[in-house]
Structures are given as C-alpha cells and as structure tokens.
C-alpha cells in the first residue's frame, strides 16, 4: 500500500505554505516529519485530515495497484494536546467508540483488555476524563485512534510533555503498530525522530523531501538534516 500526495498546495493570503507537494509514503514505515517553526507541518496534517481545504492537489491510497480515495476512517490523527470528551469516563468513551465503529473493527477485544494494553490502571478506568492526567489523556486519545486500525496515522508532536516512562511506552507502541500502515510523525526533537523513524522527511520551502542517510554515521546524518533545515531562512 502506498499513500500518494500529488500537487498539494495551500497558501494563506500572501504566504505559500504547501507548494505543489508530490510525495509517496510506503506501508510499514514510520516517517519523521521535520520542519522549522511555521514551516507548515500542522497545515499539512490538517489538509490531509480534511480539517482544512487545500487550494489544489489530491491524495489517495494505492493498494495492489488500485487507486482509491482516502476515507475519513482511513486516517487517525493524534494531536499534541490530547483532546478527550471531559464528561465521559475512560470506559464510557471507549464503549461509545466501539459502539459506533463496531462494523469496522476486526476481532474487537473487551474494554478491560484494551485498557490493559495501554497500561491504564483499573482504578482510573471509571474516572471522568476531565480528572485524567495529561499522559493518561494522551493514552486514551492514542488508543481510540489505533483501535480502528487506520491505514494512515498522523501524529502531531504526540510525545511532547509526556513523562519518560509514558513516552517510552508510546514509542514501543508505535513501533509495534507500524506494520500494515503508514505512520507520519511530526516532531521538533531530532534525536526522537532518529530513534523512532525509518525515514526522515523535511518540510522545507513548502515541499517534502527525504533526507537520505546513505552511508553517513549518526552525527553526519544529524548535521546534514540541520544544514538542510537552516536553508529555510524565514521560519
């Protein structure tokens, strides 16, 4: 399966943020999306998630050579600030989600199995989500986004402000989930991107480009990425 973007463009008044992007993402890989502040990472995600209308271009999935449109259920989008419905308990939110998506979830598990999978303690499962910690909210958001097994997982700085234990749990989880889908992970932390991602993609001057590691060692690779990012002067 490939996720193909063709001629995607978006401008805000005078500023062109996405400039005729052509890119193909491949199944089974985690892509680390790097870019300067204001480079347009969130705009790209918003366009792909159809929260924002792109000015031009298209994107589609290619499975066994057959091209098809990206449906809403194909995309899971995890925001940096976790958003969960505060008036529900963790268990109620999960039940509601499973009710709605029953048809599309293959071999559903019990609610407690899902909570165990995400290491959410039994005493927290029946608390209102408004009383959850930042890390727990983040886990709930991630859980709901991955249960339905979306083909494309967009992660906008999802590990920022998590404690080291939860961050490590999340990294493990993402690695275990990468097969059969395309994971696009935006971050400002270069070491995290190098540690977790299979490919580094730069969003620079409104276009996407892969930074080839070829035969460079880690330090040289980092220097190449930073040098490429520095080229974008007006960030």
């Amino acid at each position: 399966m490939n996720f193909v973007i063709e001629h995607l463009s978006k401008r805000f008044e005078l500023k062109t943020v996405l400039r005729d992007i052509d890119f193909t993402f491949q199944e089974g890989k985690i892509y680390g999306l790097l870019g300067r502040n204001g480079a347009g990472k969130t705009t790209l995600f918003n366009c792909l998630n159809r929260d924002m209308k792109a000015d031009g271009g298209t994107f589609y999935l290619e499975e066994d050579g057959v091209r098809r449109d990206v449906a809403a259920e194909d995309i899971g989008y995890v925001l940096s600030t976790p958003t969960v419905p505060e008036f529900l308990t963790g268990r109620e939110f999960l039940k509601f989600f499973l009710d709605i998506n029953r048809a599309s979830i293959q071999s559903p598990k019990s609610l407690d199995e899902y909570f165990d999978w995400m290491s959410i303690a039994p005493e927290d499962r029946d608390k209102l989500l408004k009383d959850y910690s930042h890390g727990m909210k983040n886990k709930m958001q991630m859980l709901v986004n991955i249960i339905a097994q979306p083909k494309i997982l967009l992660l906008d700085e999802p590990l920022t402000s998590l404690d080291v234990v939860v961050a490590e749990e999340m990294k493990q989880l993402l690695r275990s989930l990468k097969d059969g889908r395309i994971t696009l992970f935006s971050t400002h932390i270069l070491d995290l991107a190098l540690d977790l991602c299979d490919e580094i993609v730069l969003l620079s001057h409104g276009t996407l480009e892969v930074v080839e590691k070829s035969n460079l060692d880690d330090r040289e690779f980092k220097e190449r990425i930073i040098a490429a990012l520095k080229e974008e002067t007006y960030a």
């Binding site: 929260d51 009710d99 209102l128």
Partner: protein, 523 residues
Amino acid sequence: MLNTLRLSFSLKNTYRVNSILYSLRQIPLLKSLLPAALYQVRGLKIFANVLSLLWELVSIFLFKALYFLAMVWGLGLLYQNVPSPLSFLHILLFLTLIGSYMNTSLFVPTRDKYYAMILLRMNARSYTLVHYGYALLKTVVGFLPFTLLLGLERGVPLWLCLLLPFCVAGAKLSVAAYSLRDYEKNGSVHKENKLQKLVWLLTGVLLVLAYLPPALGFVLPLAVSAGLFLIWIPAGLVSLRQVVNFRYYREINQELLSQVPTQMDSAKKATKAASEKAISADTSITSQKVGFEYLNELFIQRHRKILWRSSLRIAGICAVLCCGVLLLMELLPEAKANIHQSGMTWLPYFAFILYFINRGTGFTQALFMNCDHSLLTYSFYKQPGSILKLFQIRLREIMKINAVPALVLGVGLVLILYASGGTDNPLNYVVLLASILSMSLFFSIHYLTLYYLLQPYTAGTEMKSGTYRIAMVLTYVVCYLMMDLRLPLLVFGVACIVFCVLYSMVACILVYKFAPQTFRLRT
C-alpha cells in the same frame, strides 16, 4: 521626561491602532476586502489613528458625562425635599471619596503598563509620573464642563463649580500619596483590582451616606460640603511632593503587574473551568443505550444542572408569575380590562421573553466546550452520517428542554386571557398556546442550526467567526424590536406560527445539506 511622554503615548497608540485594525479583520465582508499586510497600509493606519483619538476623547468626556448624568445629577433629581445645590454637592462629595481610592489610575495593573515597564524596561518612575499626571489632567478637563453645566443648573455657585474638578484631583492625589507612604512603611501595595473586604465595606457605607440622608431630607450645609471639598486642594498640593519624590515606582509596579501575563489568558481558563464545573461528578449516572443515544444521554444527565434544572426553575418562575396575575385579577377586578387588552395585543413582547428564557446558547456552548471540542478531532465523529444523527438527537433534546417553560407560559397566558374576560373566538386560545410553543421551537432550532452551520470555535476554544457573532447580535436586536410591536393576537400568532414552521424546515434542510462540511473545528 518629555521623551518618556512621547514614547509611552506612541506605544499606547500603536497598541490601540493595531487592536482596531485586528477588529476590522474580524468583520466578515471586510475581511476579504482588507489586504493581508493590513498593518503596513498607511491609509488604514491613519483611519485607525483617528478612531484612537476619538476613543481618547470619549474616555475623557463620555464616561464622566454618564457618571454625572446618572449618579450625581440624575439621582439628585429624585430628591425634591432638599435644596438642589446641596443634594448635588452632598452626593458628589461622597462619590468623590469613593473614587479617590477606587479609581486611582496609579494602582491599577494594565497591559500597556506591563508592556512599557516590564517588557520594554522603560524608566518606571518617569513612565508612572507622566501617566499619572496625564490621568489627573484628564480628570480636571473631563470634570470641568459637567460641574459647570450641571452644577450651575442645580444652583451651585460658579466659583465652586470651577474649583470642584481640582478638589476631585486633590482627593485622588492625597489617597495616592497616603498609599505610597504606606508602601514605604509597611511594604504593602494598594491594588485597585483586589480591594480588601474592609474597603468594600467602606464603599458601602459611603454609598449609603451619599444617597440615604438626602432621601430622608438631610444634606450637608453648603459651608460644610464646600469646606470638605476645598480641603482637598491644599492636601493635594502637599501630596504632590510625596508622589513626585517617591523612589520605589519600579518595585510597586513590578508587584502590581506580576499577574498581568497570566491574566491575559485567564479569561479563557475561566471559561474552561466553568464548563468543566458544569459536569456532574455523580458516579451513579449511567446509560443503557448504545452509540450516539448513549453519548447524548450521558451528556444530558451530566449537564442536568445547566440544562434541565435551570429550565425547570424558569418554568417554576413562569408558573408563579402567571398565578400572581390570576390572583391580582381576583383581588382587583378592575385590572381585568387592562390585562385583557394587553393579552390581546402583547404577544410580540413574548418573543423577547422567550429569547431570554431559552437554553439554546447554554446548550450549544456546553456541547462545544465539553463534548464536540474534543470529539471533532476524531475522524469517526466527523462522518456525515454521525453529524446528522447527532443533530437529530440534540434537536430533540433542546426542544424538550425549551418546551417545558414555554408550555407553562403558554398555558398560563391562556388562563390569564380566559380569566380576564375571555374571547369570543376560541381560536385565540389555540393560537396563543401554539405561537408560544412555536417560538420556543424556533429558538431551539435557530441556535442549534447556527452552531452546526457556522461552528465558530477553534480547537483552543477561541471563538473565531465574525458571522456567528453578527448572527447572535441580530437575533437579539430583532427580538428586542419585537417588544415595541403591538399586533392583534390572531394576526401575530398565525404569522409567528407560519414563520417558525417555515424557518425550522429551511434550517433543517440547510443543516442536512451543509453541516457535514461546516461542522468542523475552525483552524
């Protein structure tokens, strides 16, 4: 000092001009006409500067005009038993005392002070003195026309009218000097935005002293009130020395302004906290339903306090008021004719009443803050089928919530009409009840439709739609204008029912057609 004056005014003006330009961009039609590089356009800047200057003039004169017309002169007109110049001076004296510590301008934390003294590190003493001097000048210049105009009209001697603004400025200066001395001695900063309980108590006492004695026929004699005013002029002159020579302006401003950065987003935090507080912590609330009905039932149950409880309370108040009118007619049969005539022509008035009692805005706000704000970030929730299904459920709920007070009000009005003499045409009763219910239906659909079609909030719960704001204001204005409309019950009632039914149909069609595209988080 002169340089500080120039710099600080240019800073304040830039801040104000940019605020005006930003506001212009929020107006829907203007937004597309105005260029992106708005803040660089010379013509627009000149226009905003003119507005800024006008605002400065308004702040000098308009507020003082309102203060004088309402608090001093207007209320003074009520006291017929005391000599008018004396009641004027009596009230003004006590209000001046309150203003001397409640409206200092020296001890109030504002953003422009924060920008100038903390962020830009301007000299705190020069900045404070320049601004304080300007504030006192505004007091004198702003007060003078009104002490002259209204004071003379009330018979206060001319010489006193001329001196009164200086007395007011003197009182402010004296309190400022006292507060600064207090800081030197005890290290405590007078904070105008955080007054102590004792100060509020003092304000209450002074307000009573201002307004109660004249009502009882007692006012301070001219010599006493004039003396108590004039004493502030020498006191102010002495205090001026203290204010000018004070050395710790940076310290007091740093303490005063320490809360400003957090205050800037405290309004947003307060809205969020208030929304979360509306969620019931009752763990016994559960639901046996499935899917969207499950979500809806839990939402309604956990928000009972702001939805059903307030609706039932309003219904109770309506019932009591209707019973009161029925009782009044029983006790005072001669009132029946008037009430009957009102009942037959005042139906448009109830559009405004129903506007006030409907829970539409409270419902949509709670929906967004506690539910949609988060769920709209999930793709399953944004699918057209999900959006429309939930719209149906929510419409049913808000219609039920609004229908209860409307039904009580409608039945009450029917009973009042019947008891006040009835009507030959029984259709009047039916139309009366049906029109009240259809108005309730209208408001239920109206707010929910606006919410679904214009969804005005961003993920950060910031309201970003000028069109939504305008629609809200228009709703208010139209309902307000209805109050002046007097039409026969049957005519207005039938027109109202037809309009509400048509509007509801159109609104539902629009939602079905467009909501799947429009019901999104704003970016």
